[in-house]
């Protein structure tokens, strides 16, 4: 029988799970028996340490952490004269997790890696590349809050019925999803997030508080290695419960819960704004929600829970382990999307009840030329074809027209964006190609139809068709988008 794994490739910690033969999602511990593997890589002379040992060294030369935030960017890490991309570093984490899975469960049939809802197209592509570098052959991506919602629906045994919010504040990113759950059926209504906001920022804020106090007391600067981010993270956990005394150079520095809450309030308020936006996009009001589920380690912070209460007018629910929900949901997702022939009877019994209705994570469109009557000139615009949050499967076709006589080719550029804007600066080009050669001698105004289609798995198909000749360019965008 096949093995279905889910991976939460997190900013600060990563987890791997599998859907066991009895149809239960379970955590797979890493080789050091940790359920949560720190997302840290240490280039230690001729060896590479990944996980707990590397985390202890974080802040010292040769150690990389928090690189998930740089996925899809040009950022390069330099260690001992060698250059590493965030993709290279992520693949080291995935290698370690995958190895643990193979030791525990053998050959893997299907793997799902979760990504933040607001992850850029480039970051999604790079995550898939990292998986390939790590030797994971069949991999799909799923949005983190969708995976968490799936786990909540599963764990509640079909007792949920209504609209829910999933508030996911992890180590590096914030996500919110508004979902409708009916027993085991999860429909995503809207999803949103903040790409750079999470526990890592709170650790930095605590470091800054301590640095300031130290400077006030000693008139000296506190060095990074005297109070590392890893140490800040540990104190931050205590600050969720009580005031802390931080001992530095034989002297104590008091940081109160209130002081810390005040310092992070600006960041927490950002999550409130995104929640309001996601709620508005779903077409619901907070009174339409039955519960708000918490996911991610940073939701243990009391002021975060208070913010959730403020924005949704109800106290949040955190009955499950907030650190594990995404990873556990990911293995359920992998089983649902995988080959049913590879499932045991018990797995099939559980999986058949589950349904996931996802939405398109962004707007998808093309770059088109338009005559701007105000400016009296031709300009390039982003013309959206499929709106954000459209239920999958979906399809739409828009017609465009050639703009020059004797035009023998059409430039085709597919865009993805988070906002409904015609400005090209607001969109990312995710694929570039051309349609042609087209017949010579035709006048301008030849109709070009552009058809976009998303299937249930989130695979996007695009076709550019010259209507009068039937000349067509078709693309499957599975390599640039999430699945």
């Amino acid at each position: 029988m096949g093995a279905f794994i889910g991976i939460d490739l997190g900013t600060t910690y990563s987890l791997i799970t599998h859907f066991d033969d009895s149809g239960r999602p379970k955590i797979i511990e890493d080789e050091e028996s940790n359920k949560m593997t720190p997302s840290c890589v240490w280039f230690n002379e001729n060896s590479i340490e990944v996980g707990k040992e590397a985390r202890i060294q974080l802040g010292f030369p040769g150690v990389a952490g928090r690189f998930k935030r740089e996925m899809g960017t040009d950022y390069i890490f330099n260690f001992d004269g060698n250059q590493y991309t965030p993709t290279d570093l992520s693949s080291e984490i995935l290698k370690k997790l995958y190895k643990s899975a193979i030791i525990k469960i053998g050959k893997v049939s299907e793997a799902v890696i979760t990504v933040p809802a607001n992850f850029s197209s480039e970051a999604r592509v790079e995550t898939k590349k990292a998986a390939k570098l790590a030797g994971i052959e069949t991999v799909m991506l799923a949005d983190e809050p969708t995976a968490a919602a799936l786990y909540y629906a599963f764990e509640k045994g079909g007792s949920l019925n209504g609209n829910y919010a999933v508030y996911d504040l992890g180590g590096g990113t914030f996500d919110i999803s508004i979902v409708n759950i009916k027993e085991f059926e999860v429909k995503v209504l809207s999803t949103d997030g903040i790409a750079r906001l999470g526990g890592d920022d709170f650790d930095q804020i605590l470091q800054d508080i301590v640095k300031k106090k130290y400077h006030e007391a000693t008139s000296e600067e506190l060095e990074e290695e005297d109070f590392t981010k890893t140490e800040a993270e540990e104190y931050k956990k205590s600050l969720s419960k009580r005031d802390v005394q931080i001992r530095l150079n034989k002297k104590n520095y008091l940081v109160t819960k209130e002081e810390f809450s005040e310092a992070i309030s600006s960041s927490v308020k950002k999550t409130e704004r995104v929640c309001k936006s996601a709620l508005a996009e779903s077409g619901l009001k907070s009174s339409d929600l039955k519960e708000v589920f918490l996911v991610g380690g940073s939701t243990r912070i009391p002021s975060v829970q208070e913010a959730v209460k403020n924005v949704f007018n109800m106290p949040p629910t955190s009955t499950i382990n907030v650190d594990e929900a995404v990873a556990l949901g990911a293995s359920i997702y992998a089983s649902k999307k995988g080959d049913p022939a590879k499932l045991t009877d018990d797995q099939l019994d559980k999986i058949n009840k589950i349904k996931v209705q996802d939405v398109t994570p962004r707007y998808f469109g093309i770059i088109a030329e338009e005559y701007d009557s105000k400016r009296r000139k031709k300009i390039l615009i982003n013309s959206n074809i499929i709106p954000k949050n459209t239920k999958r499967p979906c399809a739409d076709t828009k017609s465009y027209f050639t703009t020059e006589d004797d035009q023998t080719g059409v430039s085709c550029e597919i865009t993805s964006s988070m906002i409904d804007s015609t400005a090209t600066e607001m969109a990312t080009i995710v694929w570039k190609g051309s349609l042609g050669p087209l017949p010579k001698g035709r006048t301008k105004g030849q109709q070009i139809d552009v058809m976009f289609k998303f299937d249930t798995d989130g695979i996007m198909f695009a076709s550019f068709i010259d209507v009068s000749t039937g000349i067509k360019k078709s693309i499957k965008l599975s390599d640039i988008e999430e699945n």
Partner: protein, 206 residues
């Protein structure tokens, strides 16, 4: 002199008024105006090109003097531009002025105020102004400093907290999304800065 040449001279004068808003004429601002003149004279014969460039540069010098002696008035310049006809002149004036506003990586309250004043006289909608400003901000070469977000959102003391919060919410959502979907890395960093500033300043209206 054609209407187009007259319009271009007026556009340069208007842009200069924006540049002098913070009492200084930065090199970056001067460079933008010179590049704009270059662009406008491109494609002409060498003789015409030199003639026009000279006339714009004379206009530039004269304007600097009249601005310094408080002898330049934005309303008069805009009304004269409007009298020349096509709306394209108005858009050209606004686009160049906004480019000047963002040239020094600062978005100064006086500049923002004057931009909106300019748009009002030139009969350009707020929606168009915001679009041009956003494009210009995203086109900056560095992450901006000192951004007058309240000015950009036209928040004045008469606006209620609810209305102000709505404006901040809309802008917050836009910049947040651009942190991941803007075209380039620098644009995403600029969007992050705009997001942070919008969030921090907007907090007082929640």
């Amino acid at each position: 002199m054609t209407n187009l040449d007259k319009a271009n001279e007026l556009i340069v004068k208007i842009a200069l008024l924006i540049a002098f808003c913070d009492d200084e004429f930065h090199d970056s601002e001067s460079k933008i105006i010179k590049n704009w003149i270059e662009k406008k004279t491109k494609g002409l014969t060498e003789q015409n090109r030199t003639k026009l460039k000279n006339s714009y540069e004379i206009a530039l010098e004269k304007s600097i003097k009249s601005i310094k002696s408080n002898d330049s008035n934005i309303t008069d310049l805009c009304l004269e531009l409007l009298s020349l006809g096509p709306q394209i002149y108005s858009f050209d004036a606004l686009e160049l002025s906004i480019e000047i506003m963002t040239a020094d990586n600062l978005i100064h309250p006086n500049e923002v105020k004057l931009i909106y004043q300019l748009a009002k006289i030139l009969k350009i909608s707020n929606k168009d102004v915001v679009e041009i400003i956003d494009k210009s901000i995203l086109g900056m070469s560095q992450i901006p400093k000192n951004i007058d977000v309240e000015g950009l959102l036209k928040i004045d003391p008469t606006v209620s907290n609810i209305e102000a919060d709505k404006a901040f919410q809309k802008t917050f959502v836009k910049w947040n999304h651009l942190t991941t979907s803007a075209s380039t890395d620098i644009q995403r960093k600029i969007s992050q800065k705009m997001l942070d500033v919008t969030s921090d300043v907007g907090d007082k209206y929640t």
